[in-house]
């Protein structure tokens, strides 16, 4: 192969990365060593190879020394491989005559012994020099991008992303699992720190989604399969039967009135079981779409087929109720996907010491959001489950957060949510409110100011994590109360504080089925189970799967403004991709030289993309490079070495192995 490519002239560049590399690796020594390797014409070290002067240095050398191969030893290829390939290309060389060596993330940042780190850098550089020798010119492949976008999840992040993309003129499919969009935000009463009403700012956006000509809204629906890749994803969406025809229902709610159940007796999901609903219901008055839904578990007709169907009568004119409705499947083609599937709150039953589920007057923050809400189950009255207006309320922070036994991360919103609820509870009841916190985190525009406001309202801030909530009184003043036993770390002694109501500020965690979603879309998860972004700072919405973006809490805990910002970012990425119209792929596909192939068919069942087919006429296997994604599994399995992979040829990898081991 080297003969085919003529005389090999290699330039090697060792980056200092300021002191990031140079502090641990003797870059000068590495460059001097590289200069001694066969084929190497120039070897230099430079402060910042990725800077303009650094890139120009390479280009100048290509011209002056007729270099036809370039090796740069610097950071991870995931950061700057593209940068250097482009630099090489601008100097007239095929960009794939380039090889990058990772001596920062894989060397200087993980080792402290300078001598050993320098030796390692030499080994890695030698491997790259030996490898690049075998490189050959390659063409980047382009695939067209379908401009349509799928948004999964109809909370505030999904809503905002859908509207942004739709406003740019692209078609958007918004898929939501629940009967209505709105997500958790719809359940909130006020939003911190401004205390504006959540419904007032959310519902206009919900209607805008419904009305938007470019948005196809499918609620009560779930994505069941995803095929294809960036530019052309083929997605199947299951639409669950709501037993009410969406096109006919106008949301008059007369069916609910008519239902044979005169009393609402089923737990209302929207109010977290704090109130009841009927088998036919609408989640909340501003639900979007404003279409009722029938709960097949509760409805007598659907369970037994023996109901007098009063709802059907009530809707006789429109005929929207349809007990025969079956689930349907829609197949769509989109170029990119935005995932905004949100979160679930921590189930405090996992921490029995707080007595949730045992003591009726222990609540979660989300339940209290509904309690203080004017349209909530108590009409905005803050009363305990036994009907009393509490005189003392304790809010416990970090329940299911910052805890090795449950979730290790800080959920980011609980401090502010608790401040907000402390304010609202005090406003509604005048109770003494205790906030039990470990650290008060009020970073955000106007947040610290809000903390000050609540401090000044006389809320008690007890710095300490409550050890237990008990109803076991040790003093007459504690009879009939719940008692929090806690070290007040500010004063340094253990306190027992009697409370009428305990609010657990439950943390945010990945949805129970996040793993399924992750696998469905072929994206990654971080250690905590939230979806993994491509880069924590510079690409916090793209994923490692091209054309799939994540937004909102499914990526990690965040509050409403941050969710909205990330959703806008995801939308901008999707729009940019659609407007470019194509996507460039790595030319790392597999290929077969027909004369070498024996037609043994070993490779064919191994390809997950059906990219290899057997040509019955020629009795050989062929790789469809459009379908191939370049994993190389078939290459490794080909028993006669007849399948090869661009960028990862056998000779290239063998020479890398031999290169790192040359001194062994």
């Amino acid at each position: 192969m080297s003969e085919r490519n003529g005389e090999v002239r290699i330039g090697v560049y060792i980056c200092h990365c300021g002191v990031n590399i140079a502090a641990t690796v003797d870059v000068r020594a590495v460059a001097e060593y590289a200069a001694t390797l066969p084929g190497v014409v120039v070897a230099r070290d430079y402060k910042y190879m990725c800077s303009d002067p650094g890139q120009e240095m390479i280009q100048q050398d290509i011209r002056d020394h007729q270099l036809n191969r370039v090796v740069v030893a610097a950071c991870s290829p995931s950061l700057h491989e593209r940068t250097f390939r482009n630099a090489v290309e601008r100097a007239g060389l095929n960009p794939f005559f380039f090889q990058m060596v990772n001596i920062r993330e894989h060397d200087s940042w993980v080792h402290s012994d300078r001598e050993a780190a320098t030796e390692k850098a030499k080994d890695l550089v030698r491997a790259a020099v030996m490898r690049v020798y075998f490189h050959k010119p390659l063409e980047r492949r382009r695939v067209p991008v379908n401009p349509d976008v799928l948004v999964v999840g109809g909370g505030i992040a999904g809503i905002h992303a859908a509207l942004t993309v739709a406003n740019s003129g692209k078609r958007v499919y918004l898929v939501e699992r629940e009967p209505t969009i709105g997500g958790h935000m719809a359940q909130f009463d006020k939003t911190f720190p401004t205390l504006d009403c959540a419904a007032c700012i959310l519902t206009p956006k919900m209607s805008a989604v419904k009305e938007h000509p470019n948005i196809t809204l499918w609620t009560y629906s779930e994505v069941v399969s995803v095929d294809g890749s960036v530019g052309d994803y083929r997605v199947v969406v299951k639409r669950k039967p709501r037993y009410v025809r969406e096109d006919l229902c106008v949301g008059c709610l007369q069916c609910i009135e008519a239902c044979v159940f005169k009393e609402a007796k089923f737990d209302d999901e929207f109010n977290l079981g704090l109130s009841k609903r009927k088998p036919i219901y609408i989640p909340f008055p501003q639900a979007t779409p404003k279409v009722v839904v029938i709960d097949p578990e509760a409805c007598i007709q659907l369970r037994t087929g023996k109901c007098k169907k009063a709802c059907l009568e009530a809707c006789a004119e429109r005929g929207a109720i349809d007990f025969e409705q079956k689930e349907t499947y829609e197949e769509i083609h989109v170029g990119s996907i935005i995932i905004a599937t949100g979160f679930q709150t921590f189930d405090p039953r996992r921490m029995p010491q707080y007595g949730y589920g045992k003591y009726p007057n222990v609540y979660t923050t989300l339940e209290v959001e509904r309690l203080v809400n004017a349209s909530g189950p108590t009409g905005g009255q803050v009363v305990t489950r036994d009907g009393r207006v509490p005189e003392s309320v304790g809010i416990i922070l970090c329940v299911g957060s910052r805890d090795e036994r449950t979730n290790r991360w800080c959920s980011r919103v609980c401090c502010m949510t608790s401040l907000k609820l402390a304010h609202l509870i005090k406003e509604h009841t005048g109770a003494e409110v205790f906030i039990f916190y470990i650290d008060m985190r009020a970073a955000g525009k106007g947040y610290e100011e809000f903390y000050q406001r609540v401090l000044n309202e006389g809320v008690h801030f007890v710095r300490g994590r409550v050890a237990e909530i008990t109803d076991w009184a040790m003093d007459p003043s504690e009879e009939g109360k719940l008692i929090a036993r806690v070290e007040d770390t500010n004063t340094g002694f253990v306190r027992r504080i009697p409370l009428d109501m305990v609010v657990l500020a439950v943390g945010l965690e990945p949805q129970f089925d996040a793993l399924n979603v992750q696998r469905l879309f072929g994206i990654g998860c971080s250690m905590d189970g939230f979806f993994l972004e491509r880069h924590p700072k510079l690409a916090p919405s793209p994923t490692y799967t091209d054309g799939i973006f994540i937004a909102g809490v499914c990526q990690g805990p965040k509050d409403i403004p941050d969710s909205v910002m990330q959703a806008g970012y995801a939308a901008a990425e999707a729009i940019a991709l659609a407007d470019t119209g194509f996507f460039e792929l790595e030319p790392n596909t597999a290929y077969i030289i027909a004369e070498e192939c024996s037609g043994c068919k070993t490779c064919i069942p191994l390809c997950p993309y059906q990219a290899i087919t057997f040509n019955e006429e020629k009795k050989k296997a062929f790789v469809n490079e459009v379908l191939c994604k370049g994993c190389g599994t078939c290459v490794a399995a080909c028993p006669s070495g007849s399948i090869k992979q661009n960028l990862f040829e056998d000779e290239e990898i063998f020479s890398e192995i031999e290169g790192v081991l040359a001194y062994a």
Binding site: E595, E596, C597, S598, G599, C600, K601, T602, I604, P605, L606, F614, K619, T633, A636, A637, C638, P639, S640, G641, S642, D650, F654
Partner: protein
């Protein structure tokens, strides 16, 4: 006929099958004999080592050596013939890749000698006498060749120009090779003189291999009724065909036995065993380690199966701690 090109044949550690295969040329052998002058062929003609030593260096056009190299004498002969020949051809699997004798590389010299001279069930040797390289008998020194620590392919001892693969090579390949040599149009040095494509290419059962093969069980040929029409792998019988060079005319397959790999890998493969391993393991129909192990237990001796002819030339060459 003073100007006929000179050729020689020699055997090292081999079974004799390769010699037989030369005779298998049948009437064609006359054609060969007419075209060349056979100057050395211990199995058929009475020449001695000293005759070869007396020849000028490079005076033989081509020498075909079969068998692997196990003893010091074989080594010496290899060097000698190398020196005397313009072209040295490794003839047959043993010279090519070590062959079956190199499966002994799984054992140490001591283990082999102990077994052969002491432990084998047919041996009675109470004094535990072993042949010695040098022995004084009646005032005369007797010598025997040294038994080396490893069996080697010919090219691990001397430089080899061409390889004729097979256990043994087919008469057709031999004839073709001789004609090529005589034609003077020589292929690049190091070429294996057989098609560089795997056996499946020529396999009569090729059509019967499915494109969605999943292996849920490995069966050993002697435990199963083999369908004489169907691809062995499709029947769960290990066949080395996909990882083995063609040129054998699929003789084993036609005898309803799977390929055992004697032609060695294609030029694109460094380790035949590793490649068939990869090809056989990848499509196993299991995901859990226990299930995988269970299916793989159908191959009781992977080294003996995958490296039957090529252990000496495999990447590891031998059992590394013997």
């Amino acid at each position: 006929m003073p100007d006929k090109p000179k050729v020689a044949f020699y055997w090292c550690a081999s079974c004799g099958g390769c010699e037989e295969s030369i005779v298998d040329l049948a009437e064609d052998i006359l054609e060969v004999a007419q075209a060349v002058d056979i100057v050395f062929w211990p199995v058929a003609l009475d020449f001695k080592r000293k005759d070869v030593e007396a020849m000028p260096d490079g005076s033989i056009l081509a020498t075909m050596v079969n068998g692997s190299i196990r003893t010091s004498e074989q080594e010496e002969m290899a060097h000698l013939l190398r020196r005397k020949s313009q072209i040295l051809i490794a003839y047959g699997s043993c010279a090519h890749m070590g062959g079956v004798p190199s499966l002994a590389n799984q054992f140490s010299r001591e283990q082999i000698l102990r077994y052969v001279y002491e432990e084998a069930p047919t041996v009675v040797n109470e004094q535990k006498v072993r042949p010695q390289p040098r022995h004084q008998y009646d005032g005369t020194a007797l010598t025997l060749p040294e038994f080396r620590g490893l069996a080697r392919s010919l090219d691990q001892v001397v430089e080899v120009d061409y390889y004729l693969p097979g256990c043994p090579p087919t008469p057709k390949l031999l004839k073709q090779a001789v004609l090529t040599l005589l034609s003077g149009e020589l292929p690049p040095r190091g070429t294996v003189l057989a098609p560089d494509v795997a056996l499946c290419d020529q396999c009569p059962r090729k059509e019967t291999k499915p494109t969605d093969l999943q292996i849920s069980e490995f069966k050993r040929p002697h435990w199963t009724q083999i369908d004489p029409e169907k691809c062995f792998l499709a029947q769960g019988v290990v066949c080395m065909g996909p990882a083995t060079r063609s040129g054998c005319e699929a003789q084993c397959i036609q005898g309803n036995m799977p390929c055992t790999g004697c032609f060695g890998p294609t030029s694109r493969v460094r380790d035949q065993g590793a490649k068939i391993l990869s090809a056989l393991a990848s499509p196993i129909s299991a995901r859990e380690p226990e299930e995988i192990e269970k299916i793989l237990s159908g191959i009781p001796d992977p080294v003996g199966t995958f490296y039957r002819y090529s252990l000496a030339k495999s990447l590891l060459r031998a059992k590394v701690t013997r």
